[in-house]
């Protein structure tokens, strides 16, 4: 990871937009989501929480990137902070507890918090035109009617670099990038302050992905949006986020300012994720040297089969007996950089694990 040491020299332009010590717009504390129990091939389980004790906060106007592999609980966390699944713990939005809210109270809050999903061909009803699709929240929240509604829909389309010419089109008449723009326009209809973006660029080609990423960053700057950006793509997350939270098996194992995490991750899993990103540089030295990633243990686990002790222990090249007995706490190392690892000092210092074979 030495190659990334020069990160600190580059000015982080996104930070200019962040109000320095803005109070969090959204805060989750000890969030826990438990899905109905099911039996897995791995044997009996003593716990079946998809998300356990997740604590995170997103300052107003900032973006928190939530990364992790499939099954790590990213999407469930996104749903939970919007009060879309039953969760315990606490979620405060603009200082107000929202878990347990229902009916009219929650519906009024929904205007202020929205979600954009991964696959726009699934999240847009194929039998509705663009005008009808964006019209749904406009009507449901009684934002505008008649000509005013149409004007509003056109202005929303313009915000996402489309135009009135798209009003009559159906989703199948749009390209993947255009569909995702329509989904984003729909989420903006209620003038939300907070949007959960769940893998919004994953189904897109790389250049279209770049357009959508730029669009989201522009919209954030123009409208002061606060984003929870869920993705498995560390490159995209780095581009949009001021802070990062890394999830593994339903828990946050590392969180902190984006540049710190990318330059000097202190959790072995974060290091493995970064190491796994294939570099297009044919001369990249780290191309085939795997330090943190072990072939025999790579692979997603289900959150339902959580071992005793550290969730990452059975994949971790640093793991010792303490890791298999005691759950590491998410402790602050420096300036908002938190890590849940018994061996964080060693990882942070860049000392490699003892030996790949010793397990």
């Amino acid at each position: 990871m030495a190659a990334s040491a020069d990160l600190s020299d580059s000015p982080p332009p996104a930070d200019e937009r962040r109000p320095a010590d803005a109070p969090p717009l959204l805060e989750a504390r000890d969030l826990r989501v438990t899905y109905a129990r099911r039996r897995l091939a791995g044997g009996t389980v003593d716990s079946n929480a998809a998300v356990r004790d997740v604590t995170l906060s997103v300052p107003r106007g900032a973006t928190l990137g939530l990364v992790g592999e499939s099954g790590s609980g990213k999407t469930t966390t996104g749903l939970a902070v919007l009060n879309l699944v039953a969760a315990t713990g606490s979620v405060t939005f603009d200082g107000r507890e929202i878990l347990g809210l229902a009916g009219t109270e929650m519906r009024l809050l929904r205007r202020r918090m929205q979600m954009v999903f991964q696959d726009p061909s699934a999240s847009l009803d194929p039998r509705m035109t663009v005008r009808q699709l964006i019209g749904v929240p406009v009507k449901a929240h009684a934002i505008a009617a008649g000509n005013q509604a149409v004007e509003l829909i056109v202005s929303l389309l313009e915000k996402v670099a489309l135009n009135a010419g798209f009003l009559g089109r159906y989703p199948h008449q749009l390209s993947g990038g255009q569909r995702q723009r329509v989904a984003i326009a729909r989420s903006l209809a209620t003038s939300p302050e907070f949007i959960v973006c769940d893998e919004v660029t994953s189904s897109l080609d790389v250049s279209v992905q770049a357009q959508v990423v730029n669009l989201l960053m522009d919209l954030q700057a123009d409208l002061g949006l606060t984003l929870l950006f869920i993705s498995h793509n560390l490159g995209v997350v780095r581009q949009v986020s001021q802070s990062i939270a890394v999830m593994y098996l339903g828990t946050i194992v590392e969180s902190g300012p984006a540049e710190q995490i990318y330059a000097r991750a202190a959790h072995p899993y974060t290091r493995a994720l970064l190491e796994a990103m294939p570099s297009p540089d044919p001369d990249a030295q780290e191309l085939h040297s795997r330090v943190y990633l072990r072939a025999d243990t790579a692979g997603s686990r289900h959150a339902a089969s959580v071992p005793v002790g550290c969730v990452y222990a059975d994949r971790c090249p640093f793991a010792t007996s303490v890791c298999r007995e005691t759950v590491p706490e998410l402790l602050e190392r420096a300036d908002g950089h938190r890590v849940a690892c018994h061996h964080a000092d060693q990882v942070w210092a860049g000392v490699p694990p003892q030996s790949k074979g010793a397990a």
């Binding site: 580059s10 723009r181 790389v206 279209v208 990318y262 294939p278 025999d296 997603s300």
Partner: protein, 355 residues
């Protein structure tokens, strides 16, 4: 690993695709989706084809084994594909069937749909070995276990007895790779083999493919949209856009000095985890968006979105010169002379930001 075996690149190619054009018919209309693609893979060479959805890369790869629907596919009159000197267009269906999974094996993108859900992994893997190598049931069983060993699957007995849905995505892709290499193919065609996998699993599958290809000396034709994945496995690159090869050459030359504006855009629009973070991502045009907007009738297909385009580009289709590193661009020399930081860290590309 990425040292290009220059000698092998100059030997007679194992796979030679020449002037391939593919037309799909639907509703009485024909649409040509691949236009005059030429591509060579020498014995032991690892070649990557990169492009976005709709660029024709998969159609090109499927043409090698003639896997398109015969009733609605037409190949151009000048099109030729030879494998080991044999004209693929003249093979009988029986000969083709023996070649598929035999000398030429394929790994597809989605491991969930490439395996039959109602048969065990063992049944599917032994079937391949019995058909292609004429093994007895018990020999095939042993060979299947050995094939799983080769892809670093430890508990081969339990995996052989499993149904596909009982395996993780990475495990399924390993099984498919085991199936592909079980008959020691001379050419492995891998179509987005890791796109459906998590990044950590992708890394281990790439390592595995790398070891297998290097260890056996088989040739590789990789289809991908990800330059990072390509760089892990290949030494030579073909960049496709709108059904044509727009740039080709050794990976290192392409990466350090791209000659086509599209290749530059492709390299710049990928967000990276190291190096300086750009204020905005460079935005290249996508083939699918171009296709929905309609490609130009004449001239370079890339011209409407190209910041370097001049009058000639709109009237005259640029040819791909016959050189080791070549770009189908009238202004390739000018483009190549523009400032370029390796990896696109600081290069500012004047590209239109629109769909």
């Amino acid at each position: 690993m990425t040292e290009s075996p220059a000698a092998s690149a100059q030997a007679a190619p194992l796979l030679d695709i020449s002037d391939l054009s593919v037309t799909f018919r639907s509703g009485g209309r024909g649409t040509e989706v691949v236009h005059g693609v030429s591509l060579q893979v020498a014995a032991g060479q690892r070649v990557g084809v990169i492009g976005e959805s709709g660029s024709g890369k998969t159609v090109t790869a499927l043409s090698v084994l003639r896997l398109h629907d015969r009733r609605r596919t037409r190949y151009g009159s000048g099109s030729a594909i030879t494998f080991d000197g044999r004209d693929m267009f003249r093979l009988s269906s029986r000969e083709l069937r023996l070649l598929r999974g035999g000398d030429i094996a394929m790994v597809f993108q989605d491991p969930a749909t490439s395996l039959n859900p109602v048969f065990t992994v063992g049944a599917q893997l032994t079937a391949v070995l019995r058909v292609h190598q004429g093994l007895s049931k018990s020999d095939a069983r042993k060979a299947a276990a050995a094939a799983l060993d080769a892809v670093e699957i430890r508990e081969s007995a339990s995996v052989l007895a499993s149904y596909p849905h009982q395996l993780s995505g990475g495990m399924r892709q390993r099984v498919l790779i085991a199936m592909a290499i079980a008959c020691q193919p001379r050419l492995l065609i891998a179509d987005e083999p890791t796109s459906a996998l998590d990044v950590t699993v992708q890394a281990t599958v790439l390592d595995l493919l790398n070891d297998l290809v290097a260890g056996s000396g088989m040739s590789l034709l990789l289809i991908t949209h990800d330059m990072g994945v390509l760089a892990q496995l290949c030494t030579d690159v073909y960049v496709m856009y709108a059904g044509r090869v727009v740039e080709q050459g050794p990976l290192r030359d392409l990466y350090t000095g791209p000659r086509h504006p599209y290749t530059r855009a492709l390299l710049l629009s990928t967000p990276k985890v190291t190096g300086p973070r750009p204020h905005r991502l460079a935005v290249g045009p996508s083939t699918s968006a171009a296709a929905s907007a309609g490609l130009p009738e004449t001239g370079c297909p890339f011209a409407p979105r190209c910041a370097y385009a001049e009058d000639r580009c709109r009237s005259e289709l640029p040819a791909l010169p016959d050189r080791p590193h070549a770009a189908a661009c009238h202004r390739a020399d000018f483009v190549a002379a523009q400032p370029w930081a390796v990896g696109g860290a600081t290069a500012q590309e004047p590209l239109p930001d629109r769909t």
